[in-house]
């Protein structure tokens, strides 16, 4: 076994030193009838070649995003990742390091967490950010719990245009914590009307799951007037390069999915949740925080801080049960964002926007197809004659991954039947767009 260094001789010598006659003597506390006589009924060890073949066989059954004209978004986005990013995150000292509880030998991790927090605060336009959540959806759920702690209320009002997976993630924890959730109508306009002073927070997504971009300033005022917090969710982090940030529109907590910057699609995870808020709410924030300090010689250094909020100290009184963060994805985000800088991010965002506009123009010309958005960044929704899911499936048969049928996210909602959510990023070419428009014309 290539991963196990002990030889049979080693094992013999070690048992002798311990003073037992065989390995099972060390398992003496296990009830005799519960100790397995042999290994479970699963395949035996395989060589690298065989593992590569076995997993390769599974992998080739899937269609990789890079291999086709690709327009799928709705919460995860296909972007180009510089080779530098993937190289650096695989360095042993990053990849195989532990949570930086021993700061003297973890300054590498701690400094990039500090850099990340600075980047996230700047991108979202907020005061302070944590060292990441698991992803955007769990971050949103934590944001709601945090708002409950801050306001001492237990009712969340959620926009129907929030990504339904996010909404369900919030609803699930809320239900078990006996908190209340109210949801406004998808693509409706009944959100603001439901704000009252029993509400702890209002959760909106911007750009929303249909791609629409809105000015939230007035909403924020109304929320604040009711003594509640405005939680803004962003699923496309590239939009921070071009769209007015939530912090400038009055958000109290910003939760974002950071996948677009540095993290591959990988079927939905691991991703990296961005979480930022106002300084006044800092001590109610969940998750790890890296902070600046000095060492015994007065040199600048970084440590995990404010851990009195966390479960390993506070146990049942913790602000959250979160333990792990998304360290390596944070690193990928930080490196990619460092390479981009604001100049590169802005340019990348403009390319995304321009490509989406070009795509909307092309698809809008297909007979029977209507682009529904008034505004959008790099994603929008089209109405097609017939069933959106069927159309997407037929496009896939033609080798084009054309978007997400809204019915997949809103099962059973008849209003969604003919809608497709379509995204376009910097990876799309003129040829891709032309191929999509032509194929769409053909399948309709």
């Amino acid at each position: 076994m290539r991963y196990l260094p002990l030889t049979p001789d080693d094992r013999g010598e070690m048992l002798a030193r311990i003073g037992v006659k065989d390995i099972d003597a060390l398992f003496a506390d296990v009830p005799n009838d519960k100790l397995l006589a042999k290994a479970p009924d699963l395949p035996r060890h395989k060589s690298e070649i065989e593992v590569e073949r076995a997993l390769g066989r599974l992998a080739v059954k899937n269609i990789a995003a890079s291999s086709v004209p690709f327009f799928v978004g709705a919460g995860a986005y296909k972007h180009h990742i510089p080779a530098t990013v993937d190289h650096l995150i695989q360095r042993s000292e990053f990849l195989t390091s532990y949570t930086p509880y021993q700061p003297e030998i973890a300054q590498g991790t701690l400094q990039y967490l500090f850099e990340f927090q600075t980047q996230v605060a700047a991108l979202t336009g907020m005061d302070v950010a944590n060292a990441s959540m698991y992803d955007g959806s769990t971050g949103a759920s934590e944001a709601v719990l945090m708002a409950h702690r801050v306001t001492k209320r237990r009712k969340a009002l959620i926009s129907g245009n929030l990504h339904p997976h996010y909404r369900e993630t919030i609803e699930t924890v809320s239900r078990f914590a006996d908190d209340e959730v109210v949801v406004s109508t998808a693509r409706g306009n009944d959100l603001a009307a439901q704000i009252d002073n029993t509400v702890s927070c209002v959760v909106v997504q911007n750009p929303d799951v249909f791609g629409e971009v809105r000015d939230l300033t007035a909403l924020a005022e109304k929320v604040h007037a009711a003594g509640a917090l405005l939680i803004v969710v962003v699923t496309e982090a590239i939009s921070f390069g071009l769209v007015k940030p939530p912090g400038e529109m009055g958000a109290d907590i910003v939760v974002a999915e950071g996948q677009s910057i540095g993290v591959p699609l990988q079927f939905g995870g691991p991703y990296v949740g961005l979480f930022a808020t106002r300084t006044k709410f800092l001590r109610q924030m969940p998750g790890r925080l890296a902070g600046e300090t000095v060492d015994a010689e007065g040199k600048r250094g970084f440590v995990l801080t404010l851990s009195t909020r966390e479960q390993h100290i506070r146990r049942e009184k913790a602000t959250s049960n979160i333990c792990t963060n998304s360290g390596l994805c944070v690193l990928a985000f930080t490196i990619h964002m460092t390479l981009l800088g604001q100049t590169g991010l802005n340019r990348l965002a403009r390319v995304n926007h321009a490509n989406a506009i070009a795509l909307a123009d092309a698809l809008g010309m297909v007979p029977g197809v209507k682009v529904l958005n008034d505004t959008y960044f790099n994603e929008f929704t089209i109405r097609v004659p017939g069933d959106g899911a069927d159309v997407v499936e037929k496009l896939a048969d033609m080798g084009i991954l054309g978007g997400v049928p809204a019915s997949r996210l809103y099962p059973g909602n008849a209003d969604m039947k003919d809608l497709i959510i379509v995204a376009s990023t910097e990876v799309n070419t003129d040829d891709d767009r032309a191929a999509y428009a032509a194929a769409l014309k053909e399948v309709l």
Partner: protein
């Protein structure tokens, strides 16, 4: 060599990513353009490379040395797993692509689930939790759902004192009152103490086995029976599963739910704090409540149930997160499992236990064992009795290990032991490596006993930083970089 922050060396107009300017377009943002400076300078590619390479050099990792962290299982991370995770058909597929374009992904999730069920002896698994603590939450919600489904309401969860902090935090998060169970003299849970606390209001016990003292809960079956007899459920914290894979199946011990830290037991990299993955295996009683999405394998065909509306007879407790969980971790764990095989995983558990006992046996003459010199599982727990009168604390001792080239062991955990030092070498260490480690620890221990306190109180001396002022960090937190004030303003 000191390394500045990216904000101190970057320049606003620099970017390390070339991309052509877009052609002219008419904005569709509805006048919501971002204006003003974001405040994020860029670095060219060579500067970026050097910055992060240098940062990495300030870190310690498994690849650079032994990582004796009890209860955290820092084992070898094969690079084959990283390679597999980067196959285009795995790393470059979107969670909302048509399901017809991702059958291999669904199959992989189903297959990993099958391995986890076989190894734990449990009938079902919820794959989507994103980390151990998230898995705990999932498991405890399943328990709550099952209790509600039978029309009951229970409000108490029993948690032994030695438990990980996530256990009580999780129980509290979904409204349970936590009742602590004390450990008995020998470091294990007394079934009588459990029985004393059981009542119709108890929903579950959360038990780690092997426990955080490095001991197998020898009365686990009696505890499970008592819990079940009281109509409650047995939640197992799987953090220490690495000691028993292929040797003992939690399902055979009466466990109803157990999360599995894929990064601990199945070698997905810890990555400086994540990402992890925390699938939860479930007993028959809890299986119907598994959250969406989940994979059903029928006649060898894997099928995804994505929404509650498609769940048929099942009663999903809801959704833990967007999409399908941590595919990037699944593939790494699967690659590890296929490589080891059932034989290798059993051997790995044995070697992990052997290595821990070898350390125990080699240090017991110098350091004190809180529960006597008996066999441990995959981690050896010492207390600080042996340091009495030396003027050296557990913290000092741990920091002095850094100067010897080692990451400290886990300190002051579990809380039930005074000045705890929890050492877990894992199966990844060779005998030669253990011998060096033991020699270093013996040397330090003798040094402490000789009263060479300077070596400890000031440690580490040979790390990128000396001991850091954590109090200062917490008192007035600096959580992001802010530009220095212009000289003029600062002078005013």
């Amino acid at each position: 060599v000191e390394e500045a922050l990216i904000f101190e060396i970057g320049r606003h107009e620099v970017t390390g990513v070339d991309i052509d300017e877009p052609k002219d377009f008419k904005s569709k943002l509805g006048a919501l353009e971002r204006t003003g400076d974001i405040g994020l300078p860029g670095l060219s590619e060579p500067e970026t490379m050097r910055h992060f390479v240098r940062l990495s050099q300030k870190n310690y990792g498994i690849d650079t040395g032994l990582f004796p962290l009890g209860s955290c299982t820092m084992k070898h991370n094969p690079r084959l797993n990283e390679k597999m995770a980067r196959l285009p058909g795995i790393g470059d597929i979107h969670p909302l692509q048509p399901l017809s374009t991702v059958p291999g992904a669904i199959e992989l999730i189903g297959e990993l689930g099958r391995w986890l069920c076989e190894l734990t002896g449990m009938p079902a698994v919820a794959m989507t939790p994103k980390a151990g603590a998230h898995g705990e939450l999932c498991g405890m919600m399943a328990i709550k759902a099952a209790i509600e489904a039978r029309g009951e309401k229970r409000s108490i969860v029993l948690v032994p004192e030695s438990a990980h902090g996530t256990n009580p935090a999780t129980a509290a998060l979904i409204g349970y009152q936590v009742v602590s169970v004390p450990a008995r003299e020998d470091g294990t849970v007394d079934p009588e103490e459990v029985k004393k606390r059981l009542s119709p209001d108890v929903a579950a016990i959360m038990l780690t086995n092997p426990n955080t003292c490095g001991l197998f809960e020898r009365d686990v079956v009696a505890i499970a029976d008592a819990v079940h007899a009281a109509g409650a459920f047995f939640y197992a914290d799987g953090a220490n599963f690495n000691a028993i894979v292929g040797k003992v199946r939690p399902g055979d011990l009466g466990v109803d739910a157990m999360h599995i830290n894929l990064h601990k037991t199945f070698s997905t990299p810890h990555g400086g704090g994540g990402p992890g993955a925390g699938p939860v295996v479930l007993s028959k009683a809890l299986a119907p409540f598994a959250p969406v999405p989940f994979v059903v394998v029928e006649d060898g065909n894997a099928r995804l149930v994505e929404n509650t509306s498609d769940a048929g007879d099942a009663q999903p407790l809801g959704r833990m997160c967007a999409f399908h969980g941590q595919m990037g971790m699944y593939i790494r764990a699967m690659s590890y499992m296929l490589s080891h095989g059932t034989d290798g995983m059993r051997q790995a558990s044995e070697d992990a236990v052997l290595n821990a006992n070898y350390i125990r046996a080699s240090l017991t003459d110098l350091m004190s064992l809180p529960f006597g010199n008996r066999a441990c599982m995959h981690e050896a727990l010492f207390d600080d009795t042996w340091l009495d009168g030396t003027g050296v604390t557990t913290l000092d001792f741990a920091k002095a290990m850094i100067d010897e080239g080692y990451h400290p062991m886990t300190m002051y955990f579990p809380l039930v032991v005074h000045g705890a030092m929890l050492i877990e070498p894992t199966e990844s260490e060779s005998k030669a490596s253990l011998d060096l480690f033991i020699a270093a620890l013996r040397d330090l221990a003798l040094s402490a006993k000789r009263g060479e306190t300077d070596r400890f109180s000031g440690a580490p001396y040979h790390a990128p930083r000396r001991r850091l002022d954590e109090t200062r960090a917490a008192r007035s937190p600096i959580l992001k970089w802010t530009p220095p004030k212009p000289v003029q303003e600062a002078a005013e």
